[in-house]
């Protein structure tokens, strides 16, 4: 028997082999992600329709309330519906992946108490479902752009960067909350509230340009502000400029939460099997 297959179990050792183990279990990551997606779209008609109807109706509502009733300005000469939808897309990506990640450990409790694998696989795989939803909703955006005969500029090629940004923004708090959820089941009530609250606190239904200049920097403490501004810049072209100091601050907040989330998750990970 070769020595490469010798495994030593001792206190603190799993800590040192962690990232190597994570790489070794990437197959499990693919399979868990695939399982979540397959289950989500199992009853095909309903699953797909849901991902279409929800953003479409929200877009119509926000366009009427913020654009027509409140008469808020759009950015440049972009149609208001397009402005709303370009904000709604990243917001939904962020909120579904946050919801998925934070509930993931409890949803897989039977696995965690019986099989070993780096637990980080579970919340990251749960995020993959949000990406599939995002792709479906993206089809509506293409439809809207054709309807308004709107051609995005060269900036559209940077879009994947902002998709990654949305994921990272949701992963940090997601990891932290899912770890806390294992011990305190009341943290699951935090997420629906956070998502509902954030929908209005983030510039989804309006342009972040209407925020008074002296507050704009601090407004970007909400990491989704940076994400949404980035999406609008990429999709609406030069009509919507990125406010650089705020954008960088959003990245800073995202990095901080990611560091905090991974650190807390790793710390509590060892006791998951004993607590769940």
């Amino acid at each position: 028997m070769s020595d490469s297959r010798t495994l030593v179990i001792a206190p603190g050792l799993a800590e040192r082999q962690y990232w190597r183990d994570l790489w070794r279990y990437r197959e499990l990551f693919y399979v868990l992600a695939w399982r979540d997606v397959a289950v989500r779209y199992k009853q095909t008609i309903i699953g797909l329709a849901w991902a279409l109807i929800q953003p479409l109706l929200t877009m119509v509502l926000f366009t009427v309330v913020f654009g027509k009733v409140a008469k808020l300005p759009s950015e440049g000469n972009a149609p208001y519906a397009l402005l709303v939808y370009a904000g709604l897309l990243p917001w939904q990506l962020f909120s579904t992946s946050l919801t998925g990640a934070s509930g993931s450990l409890i949803a897989n409790s039977s696995l965690i108490s019986k099989v070993y694998f780096p637990r980080l696989v579970v919340p990251t795989a749960a995020v993959a479902v949000a990406f599939v939803d995002f792709l479906v909703s993206f089809a509506i955006l293409v439809g809207l752009m054709i309807w308004y005969a709107w051609l995005p500029g060269w900036q559209v090629v940077t879009l994947p960067l902002f998709v990654v940004m949305a994921f990272l923004a949701s992963l940090g708090p997601g990891l932290w909350i899912t770890a806390l959820n294992v011990k305190y089941r009341d943290f699951r009530y935090v997420i629906p509230f956070l998502v509902q609250f954030g929908l209005y606190a983030s510039p989804v239904g309006f342009s972040s340009g209407i925020i008074p200049a002296q507050w704009r920097f601090w407004y970007s403490l909400n990491p989704t502000v940076g994400v949404i501004d980035g999406f609008r810049w990429a999709l609406l072209g030069g009509e919507s400029a990125i406010y650089m100091p705020g954008f960088l601050l959003s990245w800073g907040v995202i990095a901080f939460f990611l560091w905090l989330g991974i650190r807390q998750f790793r710390k509590m990970e060892k006791s998951f099997a004993d607590l769940i």
């Binding site: 495994l7 179990i9 197959e27 399979v31 289950v39 099989v115 710390k267």
Partner: protein, 417 residues
């Protein structure tokens, strides 16, 4: 061939458990409760922010689930791990399969470890049989290429060809079990860990499991086997480890260890348990040693419950040293006796006169329930030595478990009436 594949050195695992401090006061003042809660809240918040495990109660005590465990397992060996409830068997397996980390000591393992899980762990009811084979295989540690290679074999073993593209929620329970076992059986790890899976499934399935496991060990793989089923342990294992209170109480050939286990605590006639809050539990069991000499079983089950049991019902099963159940009885076999208000604590007494059993050592398992629901069971908690006294320890051995007199006569054929 006789390589050491598992080597455990000074392995220990401790848990922290919280206690509610009782301050010796007759009554509880609201002021004290508020002060205590404020203190707890401060500590819990601190623990939560720093990511430490948060404990209930205001005194923290260390509890050693495993203490200084040393053993070696050689390649191709089937090791039976036995012991009472709470002796540390499951914790040991959890450490070996890396689900939880040890506190001290180290284990060196050579080869891939796989656990034969409770049937259906990691199955998703909405997915088809085909999809579940891939899902469950990866959870157990197989790569996709490996699953693809063994796919046809797994399907043939499980006999589910016709239903491969049906969601498993529509499977009969038999098909479900067969599929789950088929995936696990084709895992081919160097070390297989089996924890009490034989407790589920019908007799046919248990037989199939046992067959597969002895096949695995014949192929030179190592098996760790935990079970309360002494007959199965004896049939499969070659060597045994007896755990008691987190430590090793004996190692050796499986027959020696089982005999030791059955005889353990033969002198003690009372066993106490920690009452669990929130559900009815057995707190103490006692047996009259004197009565056992003349094959009478007098058993007392002390219980406590947060709500009145209407009526409290106890049960007992005697198991022979070879592992088979030989006799059992419980209150539900008999007419229901209602005690009005029910009882929150008390004693259930069992008296069985002149048990027609061979003299020898048996183990008793005790069970607590009410008329509708089972609450607590303590497996193999009491040693019962029937028909033997200090002065007369040995009696001629009979055949089987029953001691039942028969009349024998002999005479010539002509005189048959």
């Amino acid at each position: 061939m006789a390589d050491v594949v598992i080597k455990s050195e000074h392995l220990s695992k401790s848990y922290l458990i919280g206690h509610q401090r009782s301050e010796g006061k007759r009554y509880v003042a609201l002021r004290d409760v508020l002060a205590r809660n404020a203190r707890n809240l401060a500590r819990k918040t601190r623990d939560m922010v720093t990511g430490r495990a948060v404990l209930q109660g205001d005194e923290v005590e260390e509890f050693w689930a495993l203490k200084d465990i040393n053993f070696e397992v050689k390649e191709g060996e089937v090791l039976g791990i036995i012991g009472r409830n709470g002796a540390g068997k499951s914790t040991l397996l959890k450490v070996l399969s890396r689900i939880t980390e040890p506190t001290e000591g180290r284990v060196t393992i050579r080869g891939r470890v796989a656990s034969l899980l409770e049937v259906g762990t990691g199955f998703h009811p909405e997915l088809t049989g085909r999809e579940n084979i891939y899902l469950n295989g990866s959870i157990l540690g197989m790569g996709r290429a490996e699953i693809r290679r063994k796919f046809d074999e797994i399907v043939a073993f499980a006999e589910v060809e016709r239903f491969l593209d049906t969601p498993v929620k529509r499977y009969s329970s038999g098909m479900y079990v067969r599929l789950a076992f088929a995936v696990a059986a084709h895992l081919e790890p160097e070390i297989l860990v089996v924890d009490e899976v034989l407790a589920v499934g019908d007799a046919e399935f248990q037989k199939k499991c046992l067959g597969k496991m002895s096949e695995v060990s014949r192929q030179g793989r190592t098996v760790l086997f935990v079970s309360h089923n002494m007959a199965a342990v004896r049939a499969l294992a070659t060597r045994g480890i007896l755990l008691a209170n987190g430590g090793i109480a004996g190692t050796g050939s499986i027959d020696q260890v089982i005999t030791h286990y059955i005889g353990l605590g033969a002198q003690s006639s009372t066993v106490d348990f920690v009452a669990q809050r929130g559900r009815p539990t057995i707190v103490k069991v006692s047996v009259d040693q004197q009565a056992l000499v003349s094959n009478n079983l007098d058993l007392k089950i002390f219980f406590s419950s947060p709500w009145p049991l209407k009526p409290p019902i106890g049960g007992v099963i005697l198991r022979a040293a070879s592992g088979e159940n030989v006799w059992g009885s419980n209150g539900r076999f008999h007419e229901r006796i209602d005690q009005g208000q029910g009882l929150c604590s008390g004693v259930i007494q069992c008296a069985a006169r002149n048990l027609p059993l061979e003299p020898g050592d048996y183990v008793a398992s005790i069970w607590l329930a009410d008329w509708h629901q089972n609450y607590d069971e303590k497996i193999d908690v009491l040693s019962v030595r029937l028909g033997m006294s200090e002065s007369n320890p040995q009696r001629p051995n009979g055949i089987g478990f029953l001691e039942w007199p028969a009349v024998w006569r002999a005479h010539s054929e002509d005189s048959v009436i």
